[in-house]
């Protein structure tokens, strides 16, 4: 009897801890960003000025919002064809075969590689390649960052989509086969339509990942605090400006960085919420 009670109390305490922790994070984010918003108001979001010179200090998050959104969306666009086809291969075309099992473990392996290693690879392997094509002087910039970001979210999107695709009931596929449908017709008329919203959700969740990704992006995007002027131009993202500048920041600048963090948190939370909502409707 009392053992039951203790378990219940322990579970309650640990859930409460989580609740308090997340509430604490949100409160300190809000609290920390108050000075920046008091100083600049809504201009903090719409302006792309970032000037830490004492006396004429001015901070706006627009350049980083743009950098984050552009790199993430570009990464998603590059990721979709790779992840979609791979998940179809794993979960439908070659399902339950050895090759699919091997590929699945490789995808999981890729998902486990730390961000900094991807950054290294981008820096030492991908960047020189881009320079040699002549598209970019130094190889830094939006495109390089997006490409590496895409490769980083492909495993995540692939395993989520594969999971959804393998949940399409065998009965539906059999019904289509028994009506004389070919493999291709079954995939395009039954499998994809049944899994559609789940697949979309897995890409939205992958986008959520890309938005917050920091290390690899910092190493490759060029860290220029401006709205990127082109695909191969440098820029900066919300996560990476925080990583680069928080060490030497204080006062108003610190508050501005915390405010950027708050905005990033809100954008990511919204995107993840959307993804989960769609998944729920699907299941």
């Amino acid at each position: 009897m009392s053992g039951d009670r203790i378990t219940k109390a322990l579970l309650f305490i640990s859930s409460l801890t989580i609740l308090l922790l997340s509430a604490g994070i949100v409160i300190s984010l809000f609290g920390g960003s108050i000075p920046a918003f008091r100083e600049f108001g809504l201009r903090f979001i719409t302006s792309s000025a970032w000037n830490p010179t004492a006396g004429s200090e001015e901070y706006g998050a627009m350049a980083f919002i743009a950098g984050t959104v552009i790199t993430s969306i570009l990464a998603l666009i590059i990721c979709i064809p790779m992840a979609f086809t791979t998940s179809l291969f794993i979960a439908e075309y070659y399902r339950d075969t050895r090759i699919s099992g091997i590929l699945r473990s490789l995808v999981d392996l890729l998902a486990g590689i730390p961000s900094i290693v991807y950054g290294f690879w981008g820096f030492y392997a991908l960047r020189p390649l881009l320079v040699s094509t002549g598209l970019s002087d130094q190889g830094f910039g939006v495109f390089t960052a997006s490409l590496v970001l895409a490769i980083m979210i492909v495993p995540y999107a692939t395993s989520l989509s594969a999971e959804i695709i393998s949940m399409v009931p065998a009965e539906l596929k059999e019904a289509a086969y028994s009506l004389g449908a070919t493999r291709r017709e079954v995939i395009f008329s039954v499998v994809i339509p049944s899994a559609r919203s789940g697949i979309i959700a897995s890409f939205i969740l992958a986008l959520g990942r890309a938005l917050g990704e920091t290390m690899a992006v910092t190493m490759l995007i060029g860290n220029a605090n401006v709205i990127p002027k082109g695909l191969f131009a440098p820029g900066n993202t919300m996560a990476s400006v925080i990583a680069n500048q928080f060490g030497e920041a204080s006062g108003l600048k610190m508050s501005a960085l915390i405010a950027v963090g708050l905005l990033l948190f809100l954008i990511t939370a919204l995107v993840n919420y959307l993804g989960k909502l769609i998944i729920k409707r699907f299941a």
Binding site: D96, T97, P169, E171, L172, E174, A175, A176, Y177, S178, L179, G180, A181, T182, E185, V186, S189, V190, P193, S194
Partner: protein
């Protein structure tokens, strides 16, 4: 009109073996003939190979990766293994144990799914006619004619199963294979499907896998009894039930196993 016994049989199964794994046969040396415009019931204890044999008749068993098949099945005298599976499955349709209408399609779209899946373009009036005929043939038309453009998954289980039969007969096949089509339904829906099968045999040849002996006795004309992958006995249902030749058939019919 040719009335020799041979032309009377639609499907001729000849020394058929099917194995999911090498040398482990789920169907062993089965030879039988399925007669036109009759209901043939396949009975036997669980795991004896009924579904495997049935799926062999329109080569649905080939969906499993390492399947091995020996022997032959003739459809109107022609080997089904020399036909394209697409043509074969249009002539030999299938209804499954659990109703499985396509959830992303309306009732109307479900009935003509066989055409749209195969990219067969039809004029609207042709499609309307096929839908109405198929739904009338399964006695569903009056129940759904007002809601043709609603999703098929809104229907009751029994209605969904009749929709699946309609979808399978929209092609006007020669043979309809049914794998325990009533095992997921309540008694009232079951008896409606049974009545329906009695009607359908006027136009089509039906092969029915069933666990339910009284169902086989009620509606089938011919029966096959399988045990451990072998066809133990087959013949007119009346004879098989009242006067089984094999002791295993008798044991099954009297409830000794299964």
């Amino acid at each position: 009109m040719n009335t020799t016994p041979q032309s009377d049989s639609v499907l001729e199964i000849r020394n058929l073996f099917i194995a999911y794994e090498p040398e482990r046969y789920a169907v062993k040396d089965v030879s039988a003939s399925i007669k036109r415009n009759r209901i043939t019931a396949i009975m036997g204890p669980s795991g004896c190979g009924k579904s495997t044999l049935l799926r062999g008749m329109n080569r649905m068993h080939e969906l499993y990766p390492n399947i091995q098949t020996k022997g032959d099945i003739l459809l109107d005298g022609k080997s089904i293994f020399s036909m394209s599976v697409i043509e074969l499955r249009r002539r030999v349709g299938m209804v499954f144990q659990r109703p499985n209408p396509f959830p992303n399609m309306t009732i109307y779209e479900n009935v003509v799914a066989g055409f749209s899946l195969n990219d067969i373009r039809l004029k609207k009036n042709q499609r309307d006619e096929i839908v109405e005929n198929a739904l009338r043939n399964v006695a569903l038309w009056d129940e759904v004619k007002e809601s043709l453009f609603r999703k098929g998954t809104f229907l009751s289980g029994g209605q969904q199963q009749r929709l699946c039969v309609a979808r399978a007969i929209a092609f006007n096949p020669d043979v309809l294979l049914l794998d325990e089509p009533t095992s997921a339904l309540d008694p009232i829906a079951t008896s409606k499907i049974e009545d329906l099968l009695g009607e359908l045999k006027k136009k089509y040849t039906l092969v029915l896998v069933t666990h339910n002996m009284s169902q086989a006795a009620r509606i089938s004309d011919d029966s096959m009894f399988m045990y451990l992958g072998e066809l133990v006995e087959s013949g007119p249902t009346g004879t098989l039930f009242t006067n089984p030749k094999d002791s295993r058939t008798e044991a099954y019919l009297t409830g000794k196993f299964g």
